[in-house]
């Protein structure tokens, strides 16, 4: 058992560190600002061209077929260099890899991974949040295409997306999670309108809602077979719950480092409670980094994390919100740029217990599927 880098990992880290020394775009070092979202495509392509993106994904589609630990090394080094985080596409790539046929994979994965095409994810609806299976967006077959009508919300990156991974009901007679299918639908067409949603942090570039009014998607763009939509959605959600996919452990540690600086620069300006909050933020963010190491290692055995992902999601949530509380209580009241970014970090943290399945849903899953508690 060894937490230290192997020789090859260490060489990779050195090479990446050198590249970052020359190529750090010095964007806002967090995903809580609109400036970040504006420049993110460029940053994505820059990482990709240098060979530091999609490290664990198949070579055939532009990845590098390395173990997932290399993605995490990238996360750690980006955070250490105060560079922006790695764009977060793992959940889309994993779902397409796991469920789509070779034609769909060949057509979509290379551009998705290289950053030439932007994607969003159309799952939630105004009346289908936690109860995702009750979604009502319909896709009706019309010769070699489907006609899509419905309303999606909480759609991340809908404003810049070229494609949407859409979950829609293809069998109107089926109820619940049966009769759903997944599609890659082009966003730039007359039948689709999207409207950004401004979040409580003030960010307006990340979230949107999308209306589909007789929008068209070719039948060959179905991901998996007809009726596989729920399975595709579950793959997406499982990966959205895993901190190692998201690079969040490094993001939290970066915020913690910034907070440490506040207290070091002016120790007399803070009370014991603020020091205590910082200490918990260190403890929790370190714990998450070690959890990521453990999960990455378990993957070397080919283990697939299904429902344990709910445990990791709750741990990640707890860390993000502990760090968020420390951020607002230590620095949120300073009326300057850093203070504003810490306030945004705090406000952004409130979404973590909602996105990718609420904390309450995760607890239900853990109780039933891990602990074997009977259903109510």
């Amino acid at each position: 058992m060894d937490f230290a880098d192997s020789a090859e990992e260490a060489r990779f880290r050195v090479r990446l560190r050198a590249w970052l020394g020359e190529n750090n775009p010095h964007l806002p070092a967090s995903s809580t600002s609109d400036e970040y979202w504006e420049k993110q495509p460029e940053w994505h392509r820059s990482l990709y061209r240098a060979g530091f993106f999609g490290l664990s994904w198949p070579v055939r589609y532009g990845g590098h077929d390395r173990p997932t630990v290399y993605d995490v090394i990238v996360d750690e080094e980006l955070a250490a260099a105060h560079a922006p985080p790695r764009p977060n596409l793992g959940y889309l790539v994993q779902a397409i890899c796991a469920h789509a046929n070779d034609d769909v994979k060949d057509r979509f994965l290379p551009d998705l991974i290289s950053g030439r095409a932007r994607w969003c994810q159309g799952f939630s609806e105004p009346d289908a949040g936690s109860d995702l299976a009750s979604l009502r967006t319909r896709a009706v077959r019309d010769s070699d295409q489907f006609i899509v009508t419905g309303h999606k919300v909480w759609t991340s990156y809908s404003d810049v997306a070229d494609w949407c991974l859409l979950l829609a009901r293809t069998d109107p007679d089926a109820r619940g999670h049966r009769g759903l299918s997944a599609f890659a639908i082009p966003m730039n067409q007359p039948g689709i309108t999207q409207r950004p949603l401004k979040m409580i942090s003030g960010v307006a570039r990340e979230f949107g809602e999308v209306t589909f009014d007789a929008a068209v998607v070719p039948a060959v763009n179905m991901i998996g077979s007809s009726g596989d939509g729920w399975a595709v959605a579950m793959t997406v959600l499982a990966h959205e719950r895993e901190p190692q996919e998201l690079g969040n452990a490094s993001r939290y540690r970066k915020t913690v480092k910034q907070l440490q600086k506040f207290l070091r620069d002016d120790p007399a300006g803070y009370d014991a409670e603020q020091f205590r909050q910082l200490a918990w933020a260190i403890v929790e963010s370190d714990m998450l980094a070690h959890l990521v190491s453990r999960r990455l290692s378990e993957r070397l055995d080919g283990l697939d994390h299904g429902v344990e992902g709910s445990i990791d999601k709750l741990l990640m949530t707890s860390v993000e919100q502990t760090v968020g509380h420390a951020a607002v209580d230590i620095a949120g009241a300073t009326h300057d740029e850093v203070g504003a970014s810490m306030l945004a970090t705090y406000l952004y943290s409130r979404a973590q217990s909602v996105m990718g399945g609420t904390a309450q849903i995760q607890r239900n899953l853990i109780a039933h599927r891990v602990l074997g508690m009977p259903r109510s």
């Binding site: 058992m1 714990m287 741990l315 239900n364 853990i366 508690m373």
Partner: protein
């Protein structure tokens, strides 16, 4: 990086699990079963687990902090009343001091609040003192001494009795450097963290079993979200504590001493907070039964209270974490 257990570590884990499943306490009445306790003590003795930190030919420990944590976790899960914590910490002190092995079973003497090793002459308690003949104390100048044990004292932990250390002549056995002392502190925090994680697992198993059996309003109480979510949160605490523990256990022998202490302090703070939550959840889920002496829930809680106090719980360890971050003296 590869933090999977080795084949030997997996085998050790299974061996410890088998011993505990056979000889651990599954009911409060088991604690009074002297034959069971003696059989468990014999099993721990013959397995060599108390010698994991004995010196090898070159003075290094026979086994790393990871093996120590594996055994401590399983013993904590099964409420083992055979000494492991005390003898292992004593063995480590003697190894670091390059002292000869103790003749009889030995443990360590801590200050009355258990937060640090006691110096000779100050009021001290020997922890985990069943069948121990002596306890090690550490003077401020690093001199390590062995003192004979006096009479039994009460313990909050029903599985690990304490003994008083009389203020009599102590025998010098060696001396420790500051780095040795840090190495020992890292091990002490790690082993108590592992004990906490094990006890949390045992307490949650107990609560989950009960929630699957107890019926109210015509349903098993585990089917109610209010109960199910308490149990889910308990599991999340355990998994988080376990992640921090593994790093600390590896760090005992692989990190520089100040970093090893910080990693272990971080894990201990996390686990100590979680242990209280999990054990209190166990009592709550058991309702009125959980507040009776006959329910094992309080035995778990008491065991975690002792493991928490040894070398300090949440407060002292958050302070250690801050000190490592260059922010000492503020908690």
């Amino acid at each position: 990086m590869d933090v999977r257990y080795t084949a030997e570590q997996r085998a050790l884990c299974q061996a410890a699990r088998r011993v505990i499943d056979r000889l651990g306490s599954r009911a409060v009445a088991d604690l009074a079963d002297e034959r069971r306790a003696a059989a468990l003590d014999e099993a721990v003795e013959s397995s060599g687990w108390r010698e994991l930190r004995a010196p090898d030919d070159r003075g290094g420990p026979i086994a790393s902090g990871v093996e120590v944590a594996i055994v401590a976790e399983e013993l904590g899960r099964g409420l083992a009343d055979a000494p492991f914590l005390g003898p292992t910490l004593a063995m480590e002190l003697r190894r670091l001091a390059r002292a000869s092995q103790a003749v009889d079973r030995e443990t360590v003497g801590l200050r009355r609040n258990l937060a640090a090793l006691a110096s000779p002459g100050e009021p001290a308690l020997a922890i985990d003192a069943r069948d121990a003949g002596s306890a090690l104390l550490l003077a401020a100048d690093g001199t390590l001494v062995a003192a004979g044990l006096h009479e039994k004292a009460g313990s909050i932990d029903l599985t690990r009795p304490m003994a008083l250390i009389p203020n009599t002549e102590a025998v010098t056995v060696g001396s420790l450097t500051e780095a040795d002392r840090q190495r020992w502190t890292a091990l002490a925090l790690t082993i108590t963290t592992a004990d906490l994680v094990g006890s949390m697992r045992g307490a949650l198993d107990l609560a989950v079993t009960y929630a699957g059996q107890r019926v109210q309003y015509g349903k098993q109480i585990g089917s109610f979200q209010a109960v199910a979510h308490l149990l889910a949160d308990a599991l999340v605490q355990i998994e988080g504590a376990r992640a921090a523990l593994l790093y600390a256990a590896w760090g005992v022998d692989s990190l520089a001493p100040p970093d090893a202490v910080a990693a272990a302090a971080s894990a201990k703070a996390y686990a100590a907070r979680g242990a209280r939550l999990v054990c209190e959840t166990c009592i709550q889920v058991h309702g009125g039964i959980g507040n009776t002496w006959e329910c094992l829930a309080h035995v778990y809680l008491r065991r975690t209270l002792l493991a928490t106090d040894v070398l300090g719980g949440v407060g002292p360890n958050l302070a250690r974490v801050l000190e490592h971050a260059g922010l000492g003296g503020h908690l």
